[in-house]
């Protein structure tokens, strides 16, 4: 599962967690639990045109994804965060769709990893 094409770079995440596999599973569980809620917050912020809420929610998700070395998904979350910060939500819908796709890949990867251990 160290393939760089995977949504999570396992080598990088194990470096971040200092090789603690137990902590990795706990973090996967945490992200699996919190991700739907955070995505809902992002969606709601976009629908309401609330730039600061978008900034905050996307920032939080980007942080979690970075810790889990989910680089692509983190980059997309960062794009949304920047839109929120710059109060320019014109392309937010499209980016949010991409974020959902990337997060689904991350979610799927984490679930597969947990089954595989």
């Amino acid at each position: 599962m160290n393939n760089l094409a995977e949504p999570i770079d396992m080598k990088e995440v194990m470096e971040i967690l200092d090789g603690d596999k137990e902590l990795l599973i706990e973090c996967f569980d945490e992200l699996l639990n919190s991700m739907p809620q955070t995505l809902a917050e992002i969606q709601s912020a976009i629908e309401q045109g609330n730039a600061s809420s978008l900034d905050e929610a996307a920032h939080k998700l980007k942080g979690s994804l970075k810790y889990m070395a989910a680089g692509t998904a983190a980059d997309v979350a960062y794009q949304l965060k920047t839109m929120g910060k710059e109060e320019n939500l014109s392309l937010a819908d499209n980016i949010f769709s991409t974020l959902c796709e990337e997060c689904e890949k991350v979610q799927d990867f984490m679930e597969r990893y947990k089954v595989g251990i």
């Binding site: 200092d18 992200l31 919190s34 810790y67």
Partner: protein, 333 residues
């Protein structure tokens, strides 16, 4: 105050809105033996900090409600009981951002995503600094105690009288409470030194202080070495009548006590001059000086009249607009 546990670990307050980062922080720090309390924003962290002191705060920079920079400033502006070492976690790593973080009161910063070994090392640095602060405080406290303690008898010294007696008097006047002072002087102390030697004299001084300390209320009354063989005893919430009872009890027990030095029994007596008041309102005549002078005057009379006795005066307004002392008791042995 020692806030670290027996292994030198300090409680850590974590403020982080990202649940994954919070989990990693908690787990990493708990594994190191720290007590960790984590919250999801700066506001909650500061509310908690106001209720409980945390010597280490690890805070994210960007958080809802109150961010890490605001938290740093709030903690620095808060009167805490000790130094708080603040580490800010940030994905911002430009020099300007780092300067902003440090200027807001953070002591150190760690870039996100942090690496656990690096975080542990930073926490160890912070523990060294907090331990240094603790040992400095302890040394200062020891110096403070030494500065107010008579080295021979371990009672308080003149410095303590100068510092604390005016406060006792002010408090008694402000709340219209009683206060008494006793000057206790060992009779013919020079003879003890001349007959048995200075070591014996020192031993007598030490044991007289023990007798005084055993007779007064702990945590309320206090005694200080006023001169060579003269001790001041301060009795808050005690009027001159009460002070006389205590002085008489002390006088009696000391006069019957055998001080043993190198198998020789030494008998001594003490004289007691007392001053005080039951309840007064503010007046310029009530001062440390006036109370001590009055006690000293009655002590001098004891000496003139043969020693081993108690004489007391009390501060009374009577006909005059100014307070004057009046003889309350004179027990002749």
């Amino acid at each position: 105050m020692n806030i670290s546990d027996s292994n030198g670990h300090f409680p850590i307050l974590v403020a982080e809105d990202d649940p994954v980062a919070r989990k990693i922080l908690e787990k990493t720090l708990i594994k190191e033996g720290h007590e960790v309390v984590s919250v999801e924003n700066g506001r909650k962290a500061f509310d908690l900090f106001k209720q409980r002191f945390f010597p280490i705060i690890l805070t994210d920079w960007m958080m809802p409600e109150m961010d890490g920079i605001e938290l740093c400033r709030a903690v620095r502006n808060h009167q805490a009981s000790g130094y708080v070492f603040i580490i800010i976690l940030t994905s911002k790593d430009s020099k300007d951002d780092i300067v902003t973080g440090l200027n807001s009161g953070a002591d150190d910063y760690v870039n996100k995503p942090f690496n656990p070994p690096e975080l542990k090392a930073r926490i160890k640095t912070c523990m060294r600094i907090l331990e240094l602060e603790r040992s400095l405080k302890e040394a200062n406290e020891n110096i403070r105690i030494l500065s107010i303690t008579d080295p021979l008898t371990k009672s308080y010294n003149r410095g303590y009288i100068t510092e604390c007696l005016p406060k006792e008097i002010n408090r008694a006047i402000r709340y219209e409470r009683a206060l008494s002072l006793m000057l206790c002087d060992i009779d013919h102390f020079k003879k003890v030194n001349d007959t048995y030697g200075h070591q014996a004299g020192d031993q007598v001084l030490i044991e007289v202080v023990h007798s005084i300390k055993d007779s007064i209320r702990q945590d309320l009354d206090w005694t200080a070495r006023y001169g060579g063989e003269e001790f001041l005893i301060v009795l808050p919430e005690t009027g001159p009548q009460g002070a006389c009872i205590l002085a008489e009890r002390l006088r009696n027990s000391i006069s019957k006590y055998k001080f043993i030095f190198q198998e020789k029994a030494i008998h001594i007596t003490c004289s007691f001059g007392i001053s005080g008041f039951d309840s007064v309102t503010s007046d310029e005549n009530i001062s440390s000086e006036s109370l001590i002078n009055t006690a000293d005057k009655y002590l001098y009379q004891c000496k003139l009249e043969g020693r081993n006795r108690v004489k007391a005066g009390y501060m009374d307004k009577a006909q005059s607009l100014k307070f004057k002392d009046k003889l309350l008791i004179s027990n002749d042995q």
